[in-house]
């Protein structure tokens, strides 16, 4: 008799996810599936709306990374209003957008590390979930908790100053931005009272990298062996190969580091990327066309980005990048839990970029919007905190959106997340009859490394109960477990 185990919903992962683990009659895992309730209604209900509404409308997809959707949509519409494909904006327009984006990366990464992941590292993944949460961190490591809250706040204030609101602002408009930065706003970020200033953020981001390195030293075996499997990696990079989270060309490398997408123009992404539909999942599975469904799937996000880029164009993050690369002798890194390490290096990079941008007088300029010859279609890509985000729109003669296609980061990571969960299930559940707490935790840890926005919905952290159900092949419930 084969059994089916269902874990639902996954706590401390935004949105809803459900894991089913299928076991054969020997009690061996033969298939694991991560079901994500990905509501793709947005592509339908932007149809018929005026195109300039898209950046404000689609950001409602998510309460954690609305800015990424806001900016990706705006980038696609830049193309439509004839403002070029990412390099044509005015300096103020371009740099305000970048500031907004790196503020978003910074706050989201801080949230992820301090609120969602640090409990696993501080207490161990097998610790009692009642302690292993952000409240536990606040009680036992108040300094770290304060740091997390303040870093997030700083990033959110950057977003407020550029987009008008901390969440769901309106800053980016087709062809540019609707406001510049005032001298007061800039000075507040540069010279604000401790700790809310750019220098402090850089130094705290350095501390966070150090924290992880210390943890890694002590737990090398666990970190390296947890859901480690090779894959392709995809992201945008700057034309010269530097890390650029806001704009660039599309690059993918294989597990050996060989380029499989050669810095191509993302306006033609659908020449290179295909999305596969599988009957059991609402979420599509993207892959690189040329390599086919079996070999063309890829990872996106921090781990992938540190594998695709040649260097990081800010000095402190570059130094950490070199150290990080030395762990794998310069080859792509496929250690699932190194994603956290990569994320923290990016956090440091974001802090440095924010500091540099704030010192750039272009942010104070008045030339906000540029427009040219109208186009019917446009694609906007950027690196959202969780990975590459694709927005593609086509409009009709009356300026209404006729077609929209979004590939969100979590969709891009669909296959690798499934593989990670499968890997963990196989290594822990094989031959076991019962669902243990550590099994539940390990599945969560595997999913959490990707920082997915499962249904791109907002939920109170840690409030969702974790439920595991065990079924036989006739769908009879054999066992049920629930955690708080």
């Amino acid at each position: 008799m084969s059994k089916k185990i269902t874990i639902e919903p996954v706590t401390r992962v935004e949105g809803h996810g459900k894991v089913t683990i299928h076991m054969d009659n020997q009690g061996k895992v033969y298939q694991t599936r991560l079901h994500i309730v990905e509501f793709r209604g947005f592509e339908r209900f932007v149809q018929g709306r005026p195109y300039w509404e898209a950046p404000v409308l689609v950001q409602r997809l998510c309460g954690i990374c609305p800015v990424s959707h806001h900016l990706a949509a705006a980038k696609a519409l830049d193309v439509i209003v004839g403002a070029g494909t990412g390099e044509g904006l005015t300096p103020t327009g371009e740099k305000m957008r970048r500031l907004m984006h790196y503020g978003q990366i910074f706050q989201s990464h801080a949230l992820h590390f301090f609120h969602l992941s640090s409990p696993d590292f501080l207490f161990g993944i097998d610790a009692d979930p009642n302690i292993r949460n952000v409240i536990g961190v606040a009680l036992k490591h108040p300094d770290l908790a304060v740091q997390g809250v303040m870093m997030r706040k700083f990033g959110q204030e950057i977003i407020r100053a550029t987009a008008g609101k901390k969440i769901h602002g309106t800053g980016a408009i087709p062809g540019g931005i609707n406001k510049n930065l005032s001298v007061e706003e800039r000075d507040e970020f540069l010279k604000g009272a401790d700790p809310l200033n750019a220098d402090k953020m850089v130094s705290w981001a350095q501390d966070a990298v150090e924290f992880f390195k210390g943890y890694y030293k002590a737990n090398k075996e666990f970190i390296d062996n947890f859901a480690h499997f090779p894959s392709n990696h995809l992201s945008i990079v700057r034309k010269d190969g530097a890390m650029d989270l806001y704009h660039g060309v599309l690059r993918a490398v294989d597990a050996e580091g060989k380029k499989i997408l050669h810095d191509v123009d993302y306006q033609e992404y659908n020449k290179y990327i295909e999305e596969e539909v599988r009957s059991w999942s609402y979420m599509k599975f993207p892959y690189i066309k040329e390599l086919g469904q079996d070999h063309g799937w890829y990872r996106v996000g921090p781990l992938a980005r540190l594998n695709t880029c040649d260097f990081i164009p800010t000095p402190l993050a570059q130094k950490e990048f070199e150290l990080y690369k030395s762990l794998t002798n310069g080859k792509p890194n496929s250690f699932c839990l190194h994603t956290h390490y990569a994320r923290l290096i990016e956090t440091l990079h974001a802090a440095e970029v924010i500091r540099d941008l704030l010192n750039d007088p272009d942010l104070l300029g008045d030339d906000l919007v540029i427009k040219g010859t109208k186009q019917k279609e446009g694609v906007g890509l950027l690196e959202a905190p969780r990975g590459t985000l694709f927005h593609h729109y086509r409009i009709n003669d009356n300026d209404q959106i006729e077609m929209a296609n979004l590939i969100v980061s979590t969709t891009n990571n669909n296959e690798p997340m499934n593989r990670s969960v499968n890997y963990v299930a196989k290594s822990i559940m094989d031959g076991k009859q019962e669902i243990t707490e550590s099994m539940m935790n390990a599945v969560e840890v595997a999913i959490r490394a990707y920082d997915p926005c499962l249904s791109c919905a907002t939920h109170a952290l840690g409030k969702m109960p974790l439920e595991i159900k065990l079924y036989d092949d006739n769908n009879n419930l054999l066992d049920a477990k629930k955690s708080q």
Binding site: G48, W52, V56, L57, I173, Q400
Partner: protein, 231 residues
């Protein structure tokens, strides 16, 4: 000076020229009576009833009722405020008012009234009507999802010959305010801008201008509707 009359609004002594509409007279005395379909320079129509006040136990629309000597007007009282809130709620449920993605958000009078009267969830069920977006004219989008039939556009947006750019079409549930196809095609940018300004909600939009006003610079970002009316 001889035609000045005395009246009271919620016990506040006021004075104004006889014959002025109550809404105007109140304004001159620093008192805000909410309005929606009313618009300066246009003959009042009494269409929305948001300005309802009580005089001698009778409910009257303050935008259409002239002031008279010795009038005792009840205005800012719980019963009437709840009535106003109910009107706002009805307008919300009978259209598709999706504020989060509307470019009029922050400048919208209906939204501002909802804030002023602290509407959280309407007490009436949403109708979710099927409505069209007409984007066929060169300068304007007419989004029927948001029209509250106040007639402000019909009454105020006219060409040199006095012809209205907007008009009613159909009746009952099918009623809609539409842009005249021919006039719409030759509409100047200035007229389009005026049309958008005339609309208290986001039913008339000038094309390709959306969201250019940053948050913080919109009409009701810092103070609620009506707070500009003080002595």
């Amino acid at each position: 000076m001889s035609n000045l009359v005395k009246f009271r609004i919620d016990k506040t002594e006021c004075m104004a020229e006889a014959g002025k509409y109550i809404v105007e007279a109140a304004k001159e005395n620093g008192i805000y009576i909410p309005t929606l379909c009313n618009m300066p320079g246009v003959k009042p129509q009494g269409a929305c009833r948001i300005c309802t006040v009580r005089i001698n136990n009778r409910l009257m629309t303050a935008c259409t009722t002239p002031i008279a000597d010795g009038m005792e007007i009840e205005m800012d009282i719980p019963e009437l405020n709840d009535l106003r809130k109910a009107i706002v709620e009805m307008l919300f449920v009978s259209g598709n008012h999706f504020c989060p993605a509307c470019e009029k958000s922050g400048d919208c009078e209906l939204q501002a009234l909802a804030y002023r009267y602290q509407m959280f969830v309407p007490r009436f069920p949403y109708e979710f009507p099927q409505k069209e977006v007409d984007a066929s004219s060169t300068r304007i989008i007419k989004d029927q999802n948001r029209c509250i039939f106040c007639k402000r556009c019909i009454k105020s947006v006219k060409d040199e010959q006095g012809r209205s750019y907007f008009a009613f079409r159909h009746r009952g549930h099918k009623l809609e305010v539409v842009l005249d196809k021919e006039l719409g095609m030759s509409m100047s940018e200035e007229k389009a801008e005026q049309a958008m300004q005339s609309c208290p909600v986001g039913s008339i939009l000038v094309k390709e201008k959306g969201f250019s006003k940053p948050i913080g610079k919109r009409k009701f970002d810092h103070s609620p509707i009506g707070s500009d009316i003080k002595l």
